[in-house]
Symmetry: C2
């Protein structure tokens, strides 16, 4: 059966990333509907808003039985009201949550536009770029010049998800994330490779099912020894026994996303970024191994 | 004046990324408050929920005048109700939006847990990894083996934001994003560098203020010719005239975030990822140069 189609518009005075992510989170609850999504970012004045309204009105008139869903994230109330006055109902995240927050905080919202994915503090921006630089320079164990200053070091066999996870951790949590691939030399010894012994307390292992690893490696280097099922079985078995012998926390990445891997690692290493210096009486509850 | 402090908890049955992003978006509206944030991800059963509830109750009892804010994103209603029955009021994104969506779509929500940042379709996962591989292999113009298959190519002087933006586009939009740094050889000729002429229609320029470039380069290689203000002025001036002569779209990255750069580029190149094949009568409204 063909899925029902539903037009969706995300209208934001900033990038639209938050509201799009919120929408996509909600849409997973309606698997029988296909959501045709368009993002209108940087809608921060009346002229831009009227252009978007004209577009949405045209789509609405094409099929009045099934009007589009319109999500807005507009700090300026008058822009949001412009949609309502043009007969476009909106799901607005500011109107929904800001009044509750104002009452709970005993403060008025600033209604400043476009702060969400702005550049933020110069300090944080520099941290982010430095984290990305570090991560790119400590990828795949090739240039381990400054491993001691890593916030986190991932290890595991080639193609188990180390690099994408490191990049995600650097991009979104400003963490200096290095990764060290386990390879033939390392498998011959029972202990941790020498290169990463000194960062033991910041090490996290990744593993993967041999079959999934086989599929991934076959795409990369078909019919090589590297991609053979036998080699994939050998490497994952050896990697896991290194992890166990060294009592490293480790995670099977076979059927989880980069976001889920990163979140699990942050919880384990208690590295989740916080705005302030919240001191918790106990560590946050994480996914256990 | 010291900013007021407010404890915040994000409780999710998945990674918590969406709800944390929503919260942070709302918090920018209250600049006088410092939000002390903790994320509890993967809360998908009663036992986990009760552990989190015990923790939040303890924090609440420490200062009953200022109870924490609790944001939840729990597809399972009974887990959310557990918070309410323990006298913890929550701001729940599902309860807020799902009823409206059910009514608009004429369908019931599945209440399936943790879909938001799950691995999604295997096809999308493979696309994401391939995009990241491509981007890492086409960074800084060093290994331009397959530039013809790039979805997008960024160009500009060294340290203007090309690499972080490419990684963001690959990570979040599955785009094969290459970048080509403009360097001395390129400045001597008026036209586009030969290496990128063939991808002209997918080219986007980045520029930056000479002073900001100077600050960034001084951190990297203090007192070098590369980092001198004179060189920074020369390179940005030459880069911009190459962009203008070739009629390339380009953007000044001096005071905007990676997310804002990426969003602007997507709008210009009309590459914003969509769930379905929405065919729009006209391109979305983007930020104009």
């Amino acid at each position: 059966m063909a899925r029902k189609k539903q037009n969706v518009f995300f209208v934001s005075d900033s990038t639209g990333i938050t509201i799009e992510s919120l929408g996509q989170s909600l849409f997973t609850q309606f698997p029988d509907t296909e959501f045709l999504q368009t993002v209108f970012p940087f809608v921060s004045n009346e002229q831009e808003a009227l252009r978007v309204i004209a577009h949405i009105s045209r789509i609405t008139n094409l099929n009045r039985q099934h009007p589009p869903l319109v999500f807005t994230s507009l700090a300026d109330e008058s822009l949001k009201n412009l949609f309502l006055s043009h007969d476009i109902p909106v799901l607005d995240i500011f109107s929904t949550f800001i009044p509750v927050l104002e009452s709970r905080l005993g403060a008025k919202a600033s209604h400043a536009v476009g702060e969400t994915h702005g550049v933020g503090s110069p300090l944080k921006y520099v941290q982010r770029i430095k984290a990305l630089d570090f991560t790119l320079n400590h990828d795949d164990g090739t240039k381990f010049t400054d491993i001691a200053s890593a916030d986190i070091v991932l290890t595991g066999v080639s193609r188990c998800g180390k690099t994408p996870t490191c990049l995600y951790l650097a991009m979104h949590y400003n963490l200096k994330a290095a990764n060290y691939p386990l390879a033939d030399d390392d498998f011959e010894n029972p202990g941790l490779p020498r290169a990463i012994v000194e960062v033991r307390n910041r090490l996290f292992g990744l593993t993967i099912s041999p079959k999934q690893l086989y599929r991934i490696r076959q795409e990369r280097r078909p019919d090589s020894r590297y991609a053979s099922l036998e080699q994939c079985e050998y490497e994952t078995r050896r990697a896991e026994s290194i992890f166990r012998a060294a009592r490293l926390p480790f995670l099977d990445t076979t059927s989880i996303s980069i976001e889920e891997i990163a979140t699990t690692i942050l919880q384990h290493l208690k590295l989740r970024e916080r705005t302030g210096g919240s001191s918790l009486p106990e560590p946050p509850v994480g996914q256990s191994q």
